[in-house]
């Protein structure tokens, strides 16, 4: 993994600081919109671990996003668990196990097959949720309450408050980012680099590449589960749309739009795409037409995403650091 350029680090810290104070200055609607962006950012970041860092193009990543939502709903309704401290770890475990299982099957294939197989498996879950009465069918399931956060019987924060929830989501985003950075900086991350750059050679060096890919798939599925948990808790409902392939497709668009293999790129991508959708939806009910044109334009004109724009240079001038050293190479080349 290549380190974040120092100039960009400055920008990132400024952005996080802005995000932290932002709810104090805007209307409630924008706090909710920002929470939605954060959820998509976590989700897209988890997909970036696969697409950008491992070169596994999954078109079924929504499977874990939706699964987390349904897991939370079922835990609440059938087991009566409402606490954040129990539902969140259990949901993540469910997602990790599911990702292990799906990965074990999907990673048997590669390239274009992998795309189709992940899509088909996610679609299977979609139809299962859609056709199962116990899961609410196409209506989905309501969450009776937000997860509670009590410590020794005292509520330390209240997720029913929208601003508190926003900070909760922001904390999840920062935590996901740091965990992903840690994973990528570890020896395991180096091995993943090797698998991506030249899998036959990594295999020749004695790495069981299959295991590395599966481990990464599991990690990515778990982080996607975190996004799904936060997303479902925010909406107070989980329905088959959480699992739909439009959710997966949207995440893939965000990863490319932001710039894959950067982790912070997908955050920028989520911001741009969700804001664009919000604006377009305010103008016309046929806003998806614009999104379609926008996606095609990005693919044709900006294939390496926002992160490839010379923001680093700009920031370098701003912070007076050696931005010229900005690594121009995309991760595939290191």
């Amino acid at each position: 993994m290549r380190p974040i350029p120092r100039s960009l680090l400055g920008i990132l810290l400024v952005i996080v600081a802005l995000l932290a104070v932002f709810p104090q200055f805007v209307e409630r609607y924008y706090v909710q919109l920002a929470t939605k962006i954060i959820v998509m950012a976590i989700f897209a970041m988890s997909l970036d671990l696969l697409v950008g860092y491992t070169r596994l193009v999954s078109l079924g990543h929504a499977a874990f996003f939706g699964l987390a939502g349904y897991a939370l709903a079922v835990l609440q309704r059938d087991l009566g668990l409402v606490s954040l401290w129990t539902t969140l770890p259990l949901t993540l475990v469910v997602c990790a196990l599911a990702a292990l299982l799906v990965g074990a099957l999907a990673i048997r294939t590669s390239g274009i097959y992998f795309i189709m197989v992940t899509l088909a498996i996610a679609q299977m879950l979609y139809y299962f949720a859609n056709d199962t009465k116990a899961l609410g069918g196409s209506d989905g399931m309501f969450l009776a309450t937000k997860p509670t956060a009590e410590l020794f019987g005292v509520a330390i924060f209240d997720l029913k408050n929208r601003t508190t929830f926003y900070y909760f989501a922001l904390a999840a985003l920062v935590a996901s980012f740091l965990v992903a950075r840690m994973v990528l900086a570890s020896l395991f991350g180096r091995a993943i680099d090797a698998v991506r750059c030249n899998e036959p050679r990594a295999r020749a060096l004695g790495f069981t590449t299959w295991h590395y890919k599966l481990a990464m798939f599991t990690i990515a599925g778990t982080v996607a589960g975190l996004a799904g948990y936060v997303g479902a808790a925010q909406d107070g409902i989980v329905n088959p749309a959480f699992l739909s392939w439009h959710q997966s497709g949207q995440a893939l668009v965000i990863v490319i739009l932001g710039g894959m293999g950067t982790l912070y790129g997908p955050v920028a991508g989520a911001f741009v795409l969700i804001v664009l959708e919000d604006v377009a939806a305010g103008i016309t009910e046929h806003w998806l037409l614009f999104i379609g044109v926008f996606v095609i334009a990005v693919v044709l004109l900006l294939p390496r995403g926002i992160a490839s724009l010379p923001l680093g240079d700009f920031a370098g001038r701003l912070f007076g650091r050696g931005a010229r050293k900005r690594a121009a190479a995309e991760p595939g080349d290191d």
Binding site: V51, V57, L59, L105, R108, T109, S110, G111, I112, Y113, I115, M116, V117, L119, A120, I121, Q123, M124, Y127, F128, N130, D131, W245, G249, L252, V253, I256, H286, L288, L289, I291, G292, V293, F294, V295, I296, V298, V299, L300, P303
Partner: protein
């Protein structure tokens, strides 16, 4: 299950299998020759069905509608290839997925603008509206036979074109070695455009045929797209033969799954795909990757 209902379900399976074959063969042809994964393939199915519905309403005859809609969908395929897909031959599959995903959003929205969100039925042509009695209680709609026969006709024509004509020879050669065909002085660009448009027309034709049986509705393209992915994964990508076997298998698994396990009907085809993948990750007729 008695013999006659078994027969009816088998006929349904074969008819569904044939329809899937038309869609999946277009998908596999486009991948095998152009090297492009086309998510918008299902959109052509939807467009075919909506064109059939709309033109049948205007002309009052499904056959006239199909005759008009076929060249339209071929031209649409040409336009899409020239304006969008053509830029992506050298690019990673990832970008092909995204671009064709964008196309789906556009086609779905255009469908909503042009024809609205309602489900429309398409009447079966009077000529084919009869049923063939099998036993005293069971009969089989003539129109479904017509679908199977039309598909067999198209499949046979496709086989002849690919194996017996100069165009087919070029298609096969282009799939095997694009540079060599170019070096020999053939315009691969035009060939690719033609193959893409033919694949689009093939799928649209399947949509037109199925319109009277399944009616037309928003989102129909995505459902068929994902099922044809399953077909292609099972059969092996790039293999027409594999597409045929995969389509028939899915036709039977889906139809009989609905009869025997109605509560798990939507899962049966995916479970079947998972089983095939465990056994042969490259599909039944796919070449083992190096």
């Amino acid at each position: 299950m008695d013999v006659s209902s078994f027969l009816v379900q088998s006929l349904n399976s074969v008819q569904y299998g044939f329809l899937l074959f038309l869609v999946a063969s277009g998908l596999t042809l486009i991948f095998g020759i152009l090297g492009v994964i086309n998510l918008a393939h299902g959109s052509f199915f939807m467009i075919g069905a909506y064109l059939a519905h709309w033109l049948a309403l205007k002309t009052g005859n499904l056959f006239v509608a199909i005759a008009l809609a076929l060249p339209l969908s071929f031209l649409l395929g040409l336009a899409v290839e020239r304006l969008a897909i053509g830029f992506l031959y050298a690019r990673d599959h990832l970008y092909q997925v995204l671009l064709t995903y964008g196309l789906i959003l556009i086609f779905n929205e255009l469908q909503r603008i042009l024809w609205g969100n309602d489900v429309h039925g398409v009447p079966v042509p009077a000529l084919l509206s009869a049923s063939i009695p099998l036993t005293e209680a069971q009969s089989y709609p003539l129109y479904r036979f017509f679908i199977s026969i039309a598909c067999i006709g198209v499949a046979a024509a496709m086989y002849l074109v690919i194996h017996r004509t100069k165009l087919g020879m070029l298609i096969r050669a282009g799939a095997a070695n694009r540079e060599m065909v170019e070096l020999l002085g053939f315009g691969v660009k035009r060939l690719y455009a033609l193959v893409f448009a033919l694949g689009a027309a093939l799928t649209a034709f399947a949509g037109m045929l199925s319109a009277p049986v399944n009616s037309v509705y928003p989102g129909m393209g995505e459902h068929i797209l994902i099922i044809s992915f399953v077909v292609v994964v099972i059969g092996g990508l790039g293999s027409i033969q594999g597409a045929f076997v995969g389509a028939m298998l899915i036709g039977f698994v889906d139809t009989f799954g609905k009869v025997f396990l109605p509560e798990a009907a939507s899962l049966s085809v995916y479970a079947f795909m998972a089983a095939v993948l465990l056994w042969r990750p490259q599909g039944l007729f796919g070449a083992r990757p190096a």
